[in-house]
């Protein structure tokens, strides 16, 4: 009996240690795996050249990733500008102004927004946003546009990021102690002044982290953006022109990957680039969150 118990104890502990090790080694494994695959490219071009060159001619072994990095930055930038104010305002509304019952109603709404797959957003973008831009918005500014634009990508991405950022902001604002709000109110501040001077100020580290993680999420989002952004290699930043973000590059060309020499290395390099950038952003901002939590 005792022998059996000890055996079970040992076996299950081994299993547990094994699985946690797999998880903890995974980021390292991903990094190494992608690096090994991308390595032929480094022998051929330096890292600086890869990132700073804007010539993209895979058939002639010219791999300049600048258009794609810029494309990602442009789309992310638009998404951030659109989603950040909405998230901040509705997080304030939900935690400060609205009733608890409304919050209960809102939880599933945020859950579903967060749970809807990327492709569904893509379908929505193609059916709604793209025609809207080509038929109404672009003519309004006197521009001809197909609708498959950086702006469309930004809008779809913004909607996708909102539930993600909003959830974190709600958590941030909920941790602001009620006593602090009461203190400010009792000094004669109006409710909004309290939110402005105390709640937001107290939540600043959390707000910055939420925005940072939202940017990381937007940066790596693939399918929805790819479906509406137009996928044309160029470096200009124009709302009504097509762009080509980094994740879309990987997803779009997996078919030809093995038929052109070095192309697979180039795509793996872009995955590595994406991985490193997003992991770093995540590590930095999450560290920020953990530190502020420790001091609470």
């Amino acid at each position: 009996m005792l022998y059996r118990r000890i055996f079970i104890e040992k076996a299950s502990t081994t299993w547990m240690v094994l699985s946690i090790s797999i998880i903890l080694v995974l980021p390292l494994l991903i990094g190494i795996g992608l690096y090994v695959k991308a390595n032929p490219l480094f022998e051929y071009m330096s890292l600086g050249d890869l990132i700073c060159s804007s010539t993209w001619l895979p058939n002639e072994k010219e791999f300049g990733f600048l258009p794609f990095i810029l494309g990602s930055l442009h789309v992310t930038f638009i998404a951030f500008c659109l989603s950040a104010p909405v998230c901040l305002l509705s997080a304030i509304f939900l935690t400060q102004f609205s009733s608890k019952r409304f919050m209960y109603f809102m939880h599933p709404v945020i859950d579903i927004l967060a749970g809807l797959p990327s492709v569904i957003y893509g379908v929505w973008g193609i059916i709604v946003i793209v025609p809207f831009i080509s038929d109404y918005l672009a003519p309004l500014f006197g521009v001809k546009s197909s609708g498959y634009t950086i702006l469309a990508g930004g809008i779809v991405l913004a909607v996708m990021c909102i539930p993600y950022i909003l959830n974190m902001l709600i958590e941030v604002f909920n941790t602001v102690p009620a006593g602090l709000k009461e203190a400010s109110l009792s000094l004669g501040a109006t409710f909004w002044e309290t939110v402005k001077h105390v709640v937001i100020k107290k939540g600043i580290p959390g707000i910055i982290s939420a925005f940072g993680l939202g940017i990381a999420k937007a940066f790596g989002e693939t399918m929805a953006v790819m479906m509406v952004v137009g996928n044309m290699v160029q470096t200009k930043f124009h709302l009504f022109d097509a762009g080509y973000p980094l994740p879309a590059l990987i997803a779009n060309n997996y078919g030809e990957m093995l038929s052109i020499p070095m192309y697979d290395s180039a795509l793996m390099f872009s995955a590595l680039l994406l991985f490193v950038i997003i992991l770093l952003i995540n590590l930095v901002f999450r560290y920020f969150i953990y530190r502020t939590k420790k001091y609470e």
Partner: protein
């Protein structure tokens, strides 16, 4: 009271404060309600587009004559493929994730620092975009000499959703009072007995929530299976055959020039949306129920 501020000045100030307060109350309410409107818009649109495309044939037949050009048949191949992949992946993720979460909460209960570091790493891993997992899964696949197949898809999606299982389950386990560990320790249970018999039982609703969330993420994700699972008209029977998935069925068939094929994409979108709706609501319902029983 303060002589340096006149009565009219003070009245103007109060007026300004009231206006500012009203303005922001309205703005934040508008932001929040616009989220609800956006969600309703997306879901209603998907339903309208896909509802008349939905039929028994659509659900219970595989496409005929090529998924891109043949107008006949339905999306059964994608439904089955998606279910195979996400169920398989959830199973693997559970086998790795649950013991890992239990290990963090039982064996490492006394090492707060280690606990937090592990959580920090897993959280960061959660933030890595699925396209990176896809690229990594692809290089792993080549390394192991596999082709795009059901198995490769399952492994890749499992890697993607393991962090979700661990952290969601872990969040619930965190709330279990420490006294429970000590009490069962005092009764002479081994740590694995505590983990699986007591803590697992206590956190069971959290376990279900984690499963649902992971399953939902797995079934909706396209970028990770794009490289690894391939796409086919056939219903996969063996693990080494390629498999179609719902998100990819939407993605590929939406761009087809043939209207019947596009109908299939919309039908797939409705099916996927319904699955996600059910999963999101169920997860929220369960977690609410859990906190209720926990309080009483």
């Amino acid at each position: 009271m303060f002589s340096d501020i006149s009565f009219t000045e003070r009245r103007n100030m109060n007026k300004r404060k009231i206006i500012e307060e009203k303005l922001f109350r309205v703005l934040s309410a508008v932001a929040t309600y616009s989220l609800i409107a956006t969600l309703a818009f997306i879901i209603i649109l998907i339903f309208i587009k896909g509802f008349h495309a939905l039929s028994w044939d659509m659900v219970f037949k595989a496409p005929k004559g090529g998924y891109y050009y043949g107008g006949e048949g339905g999306v059964l191949n994608a439904i089955v493929g998606s279910l195979y992949i996400s169920i398989g992946a959830t199973l693997i993720a559970t086998l790795i994730g649950v013991p890992a979460a239990l290990f963090i909460n039982v064996h490492l209960a006394r090492y707060k620092r280690t606990q937090n570091t592990i959580r920090y790493i897993i959280d960061a891993l959660w933030g890595v975009p699925s396209i990176v997992y896809g690229a990594f899964g692809f290089s792993l696949m080549l390394f192991l000499g596999m082709n795009a197949s059901l198995l490769a898809g399952i492994i890749t999606v499992a890697l993607l959703i393991t962090p979700i299982v661990v952290r969601t389950f872990d969040e619930v386990l965190c709330t279990i009072p420490k006294g429970l560990y000590e009490a069962s320790m005092a009764l002479g249970s081994t740590r694995s007995e505590i983990s699986f018999k007591i803590i697992f039982k206590q956190g069971f609703p959290g376990f279900i929530t984690a499963l649902l969330l992971a399953f939902g993420r797995g079934i909706g994700d396209a970028a990770s299976v794009l490289f690894t699972a391939g796409y086919t008209d056939l219903i996969p029977i063996h693990l080494d055959e390629p498999a179609a998935t719902l998100p990819l069925a939407i993605f590929f068939q939406l761009s087809s020039p043939i209207p019947e094929v596009r109908e299939r994409a919309y039908a797939a979108a409705v099916i996927l949306t319904i699955i996600i709706l059910i999963i999101s609501l169920a997860a929220r319902f369960l977690s609410k129920k859990y906190t209720k029983t926990n309080l009483k």
